[in-house]
């Protein structure tokens, strides 16, 4: 087990360097120079352009810029935003709780609905319920986030007026962030209705971000469950006359969940990608909004640092999932 963990963790370093390299190169391949983006059609004198480029180190050869960047990273320095002059790490730390809150809610939403849906579909295999659940899952899976989000806003916020359009809380509530999680902060604030307001703001973004993981988890649970239900021990349990609930809920589900946990782990990457768009649509002040804005401004340090930090979290979660997988299914440790 320890060897497994060490091997997994050691793999992280080259992965990081590769991600750092890819983002670094990709950003520089995008047309547009941060200084020129700032000046629009005005253009600035060649001397001042040269001065700024020098100041930002953009006049160096790309390989040297990259090595400098790695050197800084090795010292825990993720750079400073070109537009706000604030350290990238600080900005990340203030904005990440918002993304985490949304992602957690979306994941809970996906698991709480997805696992039972998959189980029900599997036990009623071939029935109308099975087909309709899987049909819905397929639709959810192929739904473009942008369109889905706007559709929900249009229906629930504009037409029905049930939910707010965007943001994390009604702006008339005002309190200092403590934990960065709006649900907790609003409770701590002691302001009447703040928690409900925060909750109502979470509904639509949670649904939008949770839809794809929900569909994936439902489908995965269904197929894993079907496989397990065909196993000998389930047949034995049936023969022994155990109640269907015990068979499905206890014996089969525990084993069926092993691949599902992996899928949930893999969904974290998707969730982060989805969060970028979801946050943009719902003006959710998290990492996604931050990254989109930096693309528009060609804020190289924020993009590089931000993507690297997000990747770090995704990788970390994947490692945790691997470990959890090892706990759930001891055979895997020896197999690798």
């Amino acid at each position: 087990m320890i060897g497994f963990i060490v091997r997994r963790v050691l793999l992280v370093i080259p992965t990081f360097v590769a991600i750092a390299f890819l983002t670094f190169v990709a950003i520089r391949l995008v047309p547009g120079d941060p200084i020129e983006v700032r000046t629009g059609e005005r253009g600035i004198s060649p001397e001042r352009l040269a001065y700024f480029r020098h100041e930002l180190g953009l006049d160096q050869p790309v390989w040297k810029q990259f090595l400098d960047y790695l050197w800084q990273l090795a010292h825990g320095n993720f750079g400073t935003s070109l537009s706000t002059h604030a350290p990238v790490l600080t900005e990340f730390a203030t904005l990440f709780p918002a993304t985490l809150e949304l992602a957690l809610c979306a994941m809970i939403f996906a698991v709480v609905l997805g696992v039972p849906a998959g189980v029900i579909a599997a036990t009623r295999r071939g029935s109308f319920i099975d087909y309709s659940l899987m049909g819905v899952a397929l639709t959810g899976f192929s739904m473009p986030i942008f369109w889905w989000g706007l559709l929900l806003i249009l229906f629930f916020s504009v037409t029905l007026g049930w939910t707010p359009v965007s943001g994390r809380i009604d702006l008339l509530y005002y309190f200092e962030p403590v934990t960065g999680f709006m649900l907790i902060d609003s409770l701590l604030s002691d302001q009447d209705g703040a928690f409900l307001s925060a909750l109502s703001h979470l509904i639509l973004p949670t649904i939008v971000l949770g839809t794809i993981p929900l569909a994936t988890i439902a489908r995965m649970t269904r197929s894993a469950m079907l496989e397990v239900l065909g196993e000998d021990y389930v047949r034995t349990a049936r023969a022994k006359g155990l109640s269907p609930f015990r068979i499905v809920g206890i014996h089969a589900l525990r084993n069926a969940l092993i691949p599902v946990v992996t899928v949930i782990g893999l969904q974290v990457g998707m969730l982060m990608a989805g969060a970028v768009l979801t946050e943009y649509i719902f003006s959710w002040p998290g990492i996604g909004t931050w990254l989109i804005e930096s693309i528009q401004r060609r804020d190289y340090p924020v993009l590089q640092g931000g993507i690297l930090l997000v990747s770090a979290i995704v990788i970390l979660i994947n490692i945790l999932v691997d470990l959890l997988y090892g706990v759930l299914n001891p055979r895997i440790r020896h197999a690798r």
């Binding site: 047309p31 547009g32 120079d33 020129e36 983006v37 700032r38 000046t39 629009g40 059609e41 005005r42 253009g43 600035i44 001042r48 700024f52 537009s83 706000t84 002059h85 900005e91 203030t94 904005l95 706007l150 806003i153 249009l154 916020s157 504009v158 029905l160 007026g161 049930w162 939910t163 707010p164 359009v165 965007s166 943001g167 994390r168 009604d170 702006l171 008339l172 005002y174 962030p177 009447d192 209705g193 703040a194 409900l196 307001s197 109502s200 943009y280 649509i281 719902f282 003006s283 002040p285 998290g286 909004t289 931050w290 989109i292 804005e293 528009q296």
Partner: protein, 528 residues
Amino acid sequence: MKRFTGLLAATMLIGGLATAAEAKTLVYCAEGSPENFNPQINTTGTSLDAARPAFNQLVQFEPGTTNVIPGLAEKWDVSPDGTVITFHLRKGVKFHSVKGFTPTRDFNADDVIFSFDRQWKKDNPYHDVSGGAYDYFNDMGMPDLLKSIEKIDDYTVKFTLTRPEAPFLANLAMDFATILSAEYADAMLKAGTPEQVDQVPVGTGPFEFVAYQKDAVIRYKAFPEYWGGAPKIDLVFAITKDPTARWAKVQNGECHVMPYPNPADLTAIGKDPNVDLMQQPGLNIGYLAFNVTKKPFDDKRVRLAVTYAIDKDAILKDVYLGAGQPAKNFIPPTIWGYNDAIVDYPHDVEKAKELLKEAGLENGFETDLWWMPVQRPYNPNAKRVAEIIQSDLEKLNIKSTLVSYEWGEYRKRLQAGEHQMGQLGWTGDNGDPDNFFFLLGCDAAREGGQNLSKWCNKDFDDKLKKAKGTFDKAERTKLYEEMQVIAHDEVPVFTIAHSVVFEPVRKEVVGYKVSPLGRHEFQDVDLK
């Protein structure tokens, strides 16, 4: 059913939306987060909008217009030769208080000196704070233009210029000329946190800064001691990046005013009974420059023929989707000095053919036609414009090749004069006609200069220089009107359009004006 819906909505949102209607707070759905709160170091409209409520300048633009009116300077004298401008400052003007700073004195000349010195003097302790880039100050040519700024007494400041320059007052009404508190700056320097001056604004403006949360909200409250009278509302910027979400918030009453609606939503917005779709031609011009130093565009008849050949209305309909106004002059009609007597050349293919024949080119010719690789406020789709022009020109047997480069490269090559025909545009900074016309002047016609036609007309240029050195507005107006006649006759550029700015504003908002300068200002606004 309806009752059930209402009940459910009420239970879901107790204390949520319901309270939004009670407080007198205007919510503005801003399109993005500001980089900081100091207009001296900002360049984006988003950041300037965010800081503006807190600040004043010596002179200001009257809301909704480009007219320059007194601000922190009550009045000013200009010396006969136009090089010395003495400002008499308003007395009893208070600065805001923020966490960690309470002003002990009123606004005075020291604040003016500090605000300009920071940008101008390299030895000012604040010069390098927060990156030390003062793009606007430099772009407006201030380091070159300013000779000295002196404090005569606490309420008198004398600016000496190296040459008379009429647009100077309009320049001082721009955001870079914002007046900061010197006392606040000193206090922050002593505390070792000079950057705070740029992040937590302390000014003399109508609204006092309360808090900013990146990507979420900016809070301002009415400043009760504002010299121009306290505003009637508090102000909240709800940062909402997606234009469709912004519009949904306005519809829902979560926001009162929004900028930059999605063009596809305009029809729906126009139909909403709760919303006024306010509009105004923007202070901009999209144009196609003919390079007069290259054949065959050195021949006025060819330029004229192309002008007659292009169907401007088709461009406006197809590309601007109605959100533009055809341009007949190089300056937009919202600016003073606009010559409305000019009659635009009609779309007339026969006339174009005649002119080409006169020029000996009845069999057509080959040319290039450049389009910008980016969407700009004055031209939403330059490639589409180029395609329309291309097909119009084919009718005259003119074969045009479409050319484009990466944005920075594109501008550089156009300025170098590599093109025969090239599209670009301009957005005005300060509502002074000179801010547009210099683009057609001889100084800018050099290689690398911003005159993309490389057109240098002595008569035009003399008037341009004369107008710039004259403070008499009536005389300047006359000169600019004459210059528009020359530009119309000589056709160095084909003027395409001034884009129209749309702003959905809820009906309960009173006194809001769309700014031709693209600003979003709320000091005179109230809620019903």
